[in-house]
Symmetry: C2
Subunit: 302 residues, 2 copies
DNA sequence: GTCGTGGATGTAGCGTCGCTTCATGGACGT
DNA sequence: ACGTCCATGAAGCGACGCTACATCCACGAC
């Protein structure tokens, strides 16, 4: 029962295939395949079964992968047990965030962590669909993700995902300064029919919020553009090419845009930190996470 | 954080040294030493410190060894997770027992387990002092041990020892058929002053029971011989060389001996099964243990 | 139908890592 | 002071797991 092989099995499940697993493990598909073979030989039962040109875990494979999660946690706990004797935690933590979250949180996080000394934070910005956030936890330690407030939870492919709430951000209606609604203190769903919308791509986190807002006024939104990057969307709004739903703390920095609060409908997004349970045991990771939570709390309050 | 190195660290703690650990792990002391060195390098802190010509774990080493126990458990759980898909458990289980316990339990255990099919039980008889029973759990899967009833618990050197009670056996006074007490239905402590005793060696499980019995009559026992093997002791009793305290179910088989119950003092021994927690996760081990418990229950009742 | 692609799996070969063997150096007891 | 016990270092060897390459199968395109 090699621990590395157990980790490989988990990766095959979460990534959905040998090649993808090999990717996150920095191995060749052949190595992954060989590890699965030897593991299955040891176990005495088939752990995987072919389906089409890919494969999936058998029930035995799933059971073993579940147990493998606990093994990984136990090992990281062991490492952490040493680290407490090592003074303040030291090391490198990989953080991934979607663009607007990165813009909102990463600068502050880096300065906060820099004050502690000895911890290196490596940032990546990732733009993925709602269902793909969890898979990122195989690549980095902390994933900053967002989802519609009140919407679906995170899809966790048997990973025991740790979800740490960071903040809730209202979604305001962004209009150009020349727009008829620009002077309003607030707007209702009914005020928003017959507008050109700048929305995000289908399947991406706040896509469904717009549909919900429109549904409140009994209409379907007219989508002129699909732009995932909020700052690009904001530029389009400023230029008068449509209106958009933008997060309050992140958007509204450019002069040509007004953010008008939306009343009568609950529109917002939740920003969460996602971690794989074994990674969550690492002391450096916990430290960085604590800073992230504290920072988000400050933003959330004021 | 190699799992084998973690297991080695645990063995060094429980066995109290590099050489002894190497023994139970079937390695050379050099290999153990090298594993500790690399583990300490990874951990970044010293895990061991020299004391005299041996060594002991530092506090960091102890913390890591504790965590290593959980790692071992998690891994065995993973193995067990596969075994449930494998039909009835198969494999080999090593059992160790002290002589009289072995005589009482092992024959029945072997026939019971043989009925299940596919499980090989390897038996060993071990005669060790009270404090050394726990250390045997590094060598075999199940240790059948005994201790004075009401006496000290098992000394567990940070091993998280699993203790499974098997049975309680009263200690009777064994006398030769020609002895004045042979006709009695029971005896009291006061009847036993000024007798030649056949006791067990100092530090061995039921040694203190005799002292307790004597104390009840306000005297100190006169020990003529120190014999650890109860059947040898019984032969001496039969030949009239003294009297002894012998377990009721185990002794009294030879014609020249009478077992007379002792009243007014609570004299007995408890027989327990001792397991290392990781070993206790193995499905075969659990199966054999269940049979052992059932068998002991039968003996205890009738 | 054929062809091309994507993905999993075998085989050969090589590097690396951990073991054993042997030698060294302290610490304790006689 | 010597011998013994125990942990540790250096050299060498074997084994294991990886990469690279080839093969095979399933699916989709034309």
């Amino acid at each position: 029962m090699d621990v590395r092989a157990l980790a490989t099995l988990r990766a095959v499940r979460t990534q959905g295939g040998v090649t993808a697993a090999a990717e996150v493990l920095h191995l060749t598909p052949s190595a992954v395949s060989q590890q699965l073979a030897t593991l299955g030989r040891e176990a005495g039962v088939a752990l995987t079964e072919r389906v089409g040109r890919g494969l999936r875990l058998t029930s035995a494979g799933n059971a073993l992968a579940d147990a493998a999660g606990d093994v990984a946690v136990a090992i990281e706990r062991a490492r952490a047990a040493c680290d407490v004797f090592l003074g303040s935690p030291v090391g490198v933590v990989d953080v991934s965030a979607f663009q607007s979250g990165a813009q909102l949180l990463l600068p502050g996080l880096l300065t906060r962590v820099a004050r502690l000394g000895g911890i290196t934070v490596r940032c990546t910005d990732e733009d993925v669909a709602q269902d793909d956030f969890a898979a990122l936890t195989d690549r980095v330690d902390i994933v900053v993700a967002h989802r519609p407030d009140g919407g679906a939870e995170w899809t966790d492919a048997g990973r025991g995902l740790r979800v740490v709430p960071l903040l809730r951000e209202p979604l305001d209606v962004a209009v150009g300064v020349g727009h008829p609604l620009a002077g309003r203190d607030d707007v209702r769903a009914a005020d928003l029919v017959d507008q050109d919308w700048i929305a995000v791509r289908e399947g991406f986190p706040v896509a469904r919020v717009l549909a919900a807002v429109a549904a409140a006024s009994g209409s379907t939104p007219r989508v002129a553009h699909r732009i995932n990057d909020f700052s690009v969307a904001e530029a389009l709004v400023a230029a008068g090419h449509g209106i958009s739903l933008l997060p309050r703390h992140t958007a509204g920095r450019s002069a040509g845009v007004r953010l008008v609060p939306l009343t009568g409908v609950r529109a917002g997004r939740r920003v969460d930190a996602l971690l794989r349970p074994d990674r969550a045991e690492r002391l450096v990771v916990r430290t960085v996470l604590d800073e992230l939570v504290a920072l988000a709390g400050e933003i959330d309050r004021g």
